[in-house]
């Protein structure tokens, strides 16, 4: 049992090497190797569920048998408590889905063997990161992760902006990695250990300036990996050009490493989350991130760029909840983290399917695809409802917990700041919904441009992984009690109980206990889902019985092939052409990107400010990163 974690990480890394040896001859053999590697990792993680989540064990493994001597850890250790395993499960499930999707999605690309080698390196490093019990090891994994992600971002380097996006990611990502390295070095210089369990035992008793700076460095480092504000432009540039399955990995898995790092840092290592200053820092970062990114999404013309901003906005939710420092907050954050991986993965894969079939991601040019890709459209609607937090999907269940956590925090502390946080979260949710209506209208509904008349639904092999994600979205939304009881409570307990983490690794016997918290409302979605269905059926029955005397419904006649749209106006105006009697020169306030004219008109100064801010110049982005680092360090010195 204790060697399961290392075997899971090794399976992925070995898969990468074996794939590069065998996959060059035959892609089929390569794919089988990739699949087996992913399946082994997933099965090993699943096998750890009973001991860790149910019995509350902490699995430890010392590399090379270098067990600690007299309370000092010399070797490199892996430590899997419920929190690590929670993220390990997110990672392995996302990797599985992404890999299976890639088999069809990437089938026409060349040099696939490099793709899968990098893909498995990425997967292995992320899994290694969340399972590791050693801070320097985490830095190593972050480096492998960043570099393989950069290479994968630019994998389709014939795309416009692919190399540019990868380059920005490389430069600013390196600033983040550097921060983690400096933070680690500062801690090592002070405590003479790299083992996280030992740090967790020593750090809370020591408080000096150097350690506070180390906290600041590590926080900014992990924030970069989660693409929190002001690092969000990177995510947008990388997502827009990366293959869809890699977008899933970046948004669903890589950002989770940042989230995991921040939870470990604040709850496990420094255990300073119960001070008000740290709560303001983390919640403030999350809050700004979720609001700025969701408004940025309003201005996007590219499907995946839009999704990228939403992805970071949802990570903002997670960080906000985590920063509250309460058991309910951590649970809500963890729940939203897993939901984010599911619905965001789903949406990126749908975007990939649209791109695969139409060759375009341009929101202004697409339209009416629901007729040509009905199944993909259905999946998209599930994802859009989930991310907008519409019941009965999972987004609602976790956002509902986040609102409760904010308000409970406000009630306990009597601090108006958390009421504002709650309001911002609710408004962000509405803006998310609005933004996805735009996507639905611009991609799947509205009028079908003539050039997409022979588009058809994507292959079933590509839809299958999306269906898995959609099913999980619905299941987690309808049965939130299940995941709360069996997964969230143990994981939250592990996050909050740092002594157990420290003790178990160094040979003690302090057992972790599951966290206990009271939900404001015992939200039982099943009841009113049934209710909604019953009322729906009732209305349908009434409608059908009244239909007898009614004229038959007109069948939609087959579209007569007209080339009018091609002749009269430019294709990008075709959607709204009848509205202007075919005149193309008039300004339309309804073009895909201008759907929210009334909203944007009032906020034009805000939007033009952010428009200038996202300059697209890597120097600026690096500067923002450095400024953020300086600000956080100053804040830590003054207040933490």
């Amino acid at each position: 049992m204790s060697n399961f974690p290392i075997l899971a990480v090794m399976a992925l890394f070995m898969g990468a090497f074996i794939n590069s040896l065998t996959g060059r001859r035959s892609r089929r053999v390569g794919n089988i190797v990739v699949f087996i590697a992913m399946a082994i990792a997933l099965c090993l993680m699943l096998a750890l569920i009973p001991p860790v989540f149910i019995e509350g064990q902490v699995i430890t493994y010392w590399m090379g048998g270098w067990a600690p001597e007299a309370g000092w850890a010399y070797g490199i250790g892996l430590e899997v408590d419920a929190l690590s395993l929670f993220f390990g499960l997110i990672v392995t499930i996302a990797v599985m889905v992404s890999g299976v999707y890639s088999f069809t999605y990437m089938a026409k690309d060349d040099s696939q063997v490099n793709f899968y080698t990098l893909f498995l390196m990425l997967s292995g490093s992320v899994l290694g990161l969340v399972l590791s019990g050693d801070l320097f090891n985490i830095f190593v994994m972050v480096e492998i992760m960043t570099f393989s992600a950069v290479a994968l971002t630019a994998f389709r380097n014939d795309y416009e902006g692919a190399l540019e996006g990868a380059f920005k990611y490389l430069v600013v990502g390196s600033i983040g990695s550097m921060c983690i390295l400096v933070g680690t070095a500062l801690i090592y210089a002070n405590l003479h250990t790299l083992n996280m369990a030992q740090m967790a035992a020593m750090l809370p008793t020591q408080h000096n300036t150097v350690l506070v700076l180390a906290f600041g460095f590590l926080f900014v480092g992990f924030a970069t990996k989660a693409f929190l504000f002001p690092f969000q432009p990177l995510a947008a540039d990388a997502h827009a050009v990366a293959p869809a399955s890699i977008s899933l990995m970046i948004s669903g898995v890589l950002t989770k490493c940042g989230v995991y790092g921040i939870i470990r840092l604040c709850y496990g290592l420094f255990q300073n989350i119960d001070t008000a200053a740290v709560q303001y820092l983390v919640t403030g970062f999350g809050c700004v991130t979720m609001f700025v990114c969701v408004t940025m999404a309003f201005n996007q013309h590219n499907f995946k760029r839009l999704l990228a901003f939403h992805s970071i906005s949802q990570v903002g939710y997670v960080i906000t909840a985590v920063g509250l420092g309460s058991a309910l907050g951590v649970s809500a954050g963890l729940f939203h983290a897993v939901n984010h991986t599911l619905f965001k993965g789903l949406l990126f894969l749908v975007a990939g399917a649209v791109q695969h079939e139409t060759g375009s991601l341009d929101l202004d040019g697409l339209g009416g695809l629901s007729k040509k890709m009905p199944r993909t459209c259905l999946l998209f609607l599930v994802g859009a409802a989930s991310i907008s937090g519409l019941p009965p999907f999972n987004g609602f269940a976790s956002k509902w917990m986040i609102y409760q956590a904010c308000f409970a925090k406000a009630g306990e502390s009597g601090n108006f700041f958390y009421v504002l946080v709650c309001v911002v979260a609710l408004i962000t949710s509405v803006l998310t919904l609005a933004s996805f209506v735009k996507v639905a209208q611009s991609v799947f509904y509205g009028q079908l441009p003539a050039r997409y008349n022979d588009v058809h639904d994507c292959p079933a092999a590509m839809r299958a992984p999306i269906w898995v994600l959609a099913a999980l979205c619905a299941l987690l939304g309808v049965f939130p009690g299940f995941i709360t009881r069996f997964f969230l409570k143990p994981a939250t307990g592990a996050a909050l109980d740092a002594t157990a983490y420290a003790d178990q690794m160094l040979g003690g016997s302090h057992a972790a206990s599951a966290a206990d918290f009271q939900l404001l409302g015992n939200w039982s979605p099943l009841v009113w889902v049934v209710l909604l269905l019953v009322v729906c059926c009732a209305v349908t029955i009434v409608a059908v019985s009244a239909k007898k005397g009614m004229a038959p419904v007109l069948e939609p006649a087959p579209l007569a092939p007209t080339d009018r749209e091609d002749v009269c106006v430019a294709p990008e105006n075709a959607k709204y052409e009848p509205f202007f009697s075919g005149e193309e020169s008039e300004y339309s306030q309804v073009g895909g990107s201008d759907l929210f004219w009334g909203f944007k008109e009032n906020w034009r100064k805000y939007f033009s400010f952010w428009h200038r801010w996202h300059s697209g110049i890597v120097n600026d982005y690096a500067l923002y990163g450095v400024v953020a680092l300086a600000a956080v360090l100053l804040y830590c010195l003054l207040f933490v």
Binding site: F444, G521, G598
Partner: protein, 322 residues
């Protein structure tokens, strides 16, 4: 036997009182009353009180036309889902002390179900493929963003007052709000909540889509916008949804600020219906008769400055313990 009686009781609550039957009767009544009142204020005779019922039945008898460019399934399913979601919302609104359905956190459920209703309108019009509907849905979107902020602030302010005694200091449950009002008098008498009540009165017409905030349907500009392509059965369903929304929103105001319990279920129902009429008059008929339609950007500005400001003042006062 006991189980049988319980189920029977629940069915009665869901289907008759205070459930679907009561909802439908009061909804049509409110819609008719609104039209009549507006007409009288404009010195017209106005239609008979039951005109909305006639309109509904007439619509049902008409042919349903589905445009060629429409996505058939979504075009037809959207009105159905919209009606279902507002009817379910109505089940959560307490009449006097009792709602057909009650759950902890039902104020947020109501908030979300109302959003869902707006989303179905939007999806239906998007599916129709008409450019007029495209403009309409963009406006519906803007009005949704507009009223959502003050609406949330009002719910938080009321929840804070009614939940002051609970462990978490806030409540999201209609049952708690009703219990608080039964013990301490109606919340409209709470001075700090007066701005919130005013804000809620202003939120109602926008949420329902009543003039002067019906920018999404503006028939003279964009040919009924979101409803441009609808006819027959689906249109009838949208009209029904509109009427039920009037009931839900005015009922929500009563539940939040004017919940009166006498102990007699029927009397409660009558009082509730009368209060709903008053709220409808104040929040929907008067603005309709007095104001011309707002511009799109004006609606947004109005709600995010004045209305949200009123609600925020209430929330701040309540938070300071006034």
């Amino acid at each position: 036997m006991q189980v049988f009686l319980d189920v029977l009781g629940l069915l009665f609550k869901v289907f008759f009182f205070p459930g679907l039957a009561f909802t439908l009767v009061v909804s049509f009544l409110l819609a008719g009353l609104d039209r009549k009142l507006v007409a009288r204020m404009q010195r017209r005779v106005g239609p008979p009180l039951l005109q909305p019922v006639y309109d509904y039945l007439k619509c049902l008898g008409k042919e349903t036309i589905i445009p060629r460019k429409a996505n058939r399934a979504m075009f037809l399913a959207a009105p159905l889902l919209g009606v279902a979601s507002v009817l379910v919302t109505a089940l959560f609104i307490p009449v006097g002390g009792a709602a057909a359905f009650s759950a902890n956190g039902d104020t947020v459920v109501v908030l979300y179900l109302l959003t869902l209703a707006s989303v179905t309108v939007i999806m239906g019009s998007a599916a129709s493929g008409s450019p007029f509907a495209g403009v309409g849905l963009s406006r519906e979107m803007v009005s949704m963003i507009s009223y959502e902020l003050p609406f949330v602030l009002v719910l938080l302010a009321v929840g804070r007052v009614a939940g002051a005694g609970t462990a978490l200091g806030v409540t999201f449950s209609f049952a708690d709000i009703a219990a608080y009002q039964a013990a301490n008098g109606v919340l409209l008498g709470h001075v700090a909540l007066l701005p919130a009540a005013l804000a809620m009165l202003l939120v109602i017409p926008c949420e329902v889509g009543q003039q002067p905030f019906d920018i999404d349907e503006a028939e003279t500009e964009i040919c009924e916008g979101v409803l441009a392509e609808y006819s027959g059965h689906p249109l009838a369903r949208y009209k029904l949804m509109h009427n039920v929304k009037m009931f839900v929103m005015s009922g929500l105001f009563c539940a939040l600020f004017l919940n009166i319990q006498t102990g007699f279920l029927l009397l409660d129902g009558v009082i509730f219906a009368v209060l709903c009429c008053v709220v409808t008059f104040l929040s929907m008929s008067v603005p309709h008769a007095v104001c011309a339609r707002f511009k799109v950007e004006q609606v947004f500005k109005f709600y995010w400055t004045i209305v949200a400001g009123l609600a925020a003042v209430s929330l701040a006062l309540v938070w300071l313990g006034l």
